[in-house]
């Protein structure tokens, strides 16, 4: 990167561990903010709260972020990147499109269940975070569009489906997740999988086929979960 040339050279041997420390610090701060925001709402959280939660010095916060807003946007980006990576990894392995959607949604729900505070930052608090946060939220919504859009190729109605269908489906899924996370029901979020799969597949495959797919997997994933 061009910006590297303007930096002072790092002191040789320490560069790796320094990078590690910096990254680790950033993640700690991001997690601190997410936890605070998910407990008391983004608006009321202060930098002092984040500093205390992350167990770092105030200076360290400002070495990493310009402001609370800046930190929030970083948290949002961090969580969305992590969630999408899981989705892409899970969905990418599968050729069959309906199963691919199911695997992608399952990975997304699993991430939410594992990281409820970060998920809440992206899916709930982001809406109250002002225009930049809203914009980032928009982009995260958009990143799901292509996964769903592939369904047009296998759908008997492919050519006639409304242009906005994917946007509406993802908006619906995000709204359900928003509701559950607002009510702090992240623990049960994975139970929504069959319903969400059915909801998203129905316009492409018809209700009957979507239901069959959604429920056949329900048994399979329950079996796996029991192990």
């Amino acid at each position: 990167m061009a910006s590297n040339s303007t930096r002072r050279p790092l002191p040789g041997r320490h560069s790796l561990s320094r990078d590690f420390i910096v990254r680790h610090q950033r993640e700690r701060i991001i997690n601190g903010l997410a936890l605070e925001a998910s407990e008391r709402g983004y608006r009321t959280v202060t930098v002092a709260d984040v500093v205390r939660r992350a167990g770092i010095a105030r200076n360290t916060f400002y070495e990493n972020f310009g402001s609370k807003e800046d930190c929030f946007l970083a948290a949002q980006q961090y969580a969305m990147d992590a969630a999408l990576e899981q989705v892409v990894t899970a969905a990418g392995e599968i050729d069959d499109w309906p199963r691919r959607v199911e695997a992608g949604l399952a990975a997304f729900l699993a991430y939410i269940a594992r990281e409820p505070a970060l998920a809440r930052t992206c899916l709930v608090e982001a809406l109250a975070g002002g225009p930049a946060a809203m914009q980032a939220h928009e982009e995260s919504l958009q990143s799901f569009v292509s996964l769903f859009r592939l369904g047009r190729d296998v759908s008997p109605y492919g050519g006639e489906l409304p242009e906005t269908l994917e946007e509406a489906l993802i908006g619906g899924v995000f709204w359900i997740l928003y509701q559950r996370l607002s009510l702090a029901e992240a623990g049960q979020i994975e139970e929504l999988l069959p319903e969400l799969v059915e909801f998203t597949l129905t316009p492409y495959l018809g209700a009957g086929a979507a239901r069959e797919l959604a429920r056949s997997k329900e048994g399979a994933s329950r079996g796996k979960g029991a192990v």
């Binding site: 709402g41 809406l127 409304p162 619906g172 709204w175 009957g208 979507a210």
Partner: protein, 222 residues
């Protein structure tokens, strides 16, 4: 501090002894403050709006503001409730006027879009700014969206077992969420002009789980 920021002749009600009952003046002032807040928020966003912005747009004094509201938040809540009452009334009326459920859904959605298109400031206030206006408003926003669920649930009536088996306990919530998302994203991006063309897509999306794609498309594009 007590003097209006506009010269009195620009105020919509002349000051002093206009002979109008006090209650009328008061209600009128309140409405003006609500309208003033909507204009101010459209201009500056919720966070950037001050009480001075509101009183300037409403052409009333700061003291008058505090006779009606304790804070910007309180004024916003009043504005939000006013907008949603009106929006709900229009949607409800349009829905009730149709005999058949699919047509009723279409009429309700059309009424919603019409209102939002004709009142861009109120559209922004209710669909975008409400989310940043603090927990009280957010709670009302969530409840307002959930209150649309029964319009869709009505579509279950008289459907075959086959269709009903395809619906889950969250189908209507997801439909409402998807519809609101399509609308509010366009308002957020200042693309309100796209709302009108959205009607057939929204109708088809809403009806598909109940009627199937082909039939839903027919009603949507009728």
């Amino acid at each position: 501090m007590d003097s209006p920021e506009y010269p009195p002749e620009l105020a919509r009600l002349p000051p002093g002894r206009h002979g109008l009952p006090r209650e009328f003046v008061s209600r009128n002032q309140r409405e003006r403050l609500i309208a003033g807040l909507a204009e101010a928020v459209a201009e500056n966003g919720y966070a950037g709006t001050t009480i001075a912005h509101i009183t300037r747009h409403a052409a009333v004094s700061r003291r008058t503001f505090y006779e009606h509201f304790n804070s910007k938040d309180e004024c916003f809540i009043a504005a939000y409730d006013t907008v949603m009452t009106e929006l709900n009334r229009r949607v409800g009326d349009a829905f009730e006027q149709e005999e058949e459920w699919p047509q009723a859904v279409r009429a309700g959605l059309a009424a919603m879009l019409d209102f939002l298109i004709s009142e861009p400031h109120l559209a922004r206030l209710s669909m975008v700014e409400a989310l940043v206006a603090g927990p009280v408003v957010v709670e009302r926003y969530d409840a307002a969206i959930q209150s649309l669920v029964p319009y869709f649930e009505a579509g279950r009536e008289g459907r075959s077992d086959e269709v009903l088996a395809g619906l889950s306990s969250t189908t209507e919530e997801a439909l409402v969420g998807g519809i609101v998302s399509l609308i509010s994203r366009r308002i957020f991006a200042d693309r309100t002009e796209e709302l009108e063309a959205l009607l057939p897509d929204l109708v088809e999306f809403a009806l598909t789980p109940y009627l199937g794609s082909a039939e839903a498309a027919k009603v949507a594009r009728a």
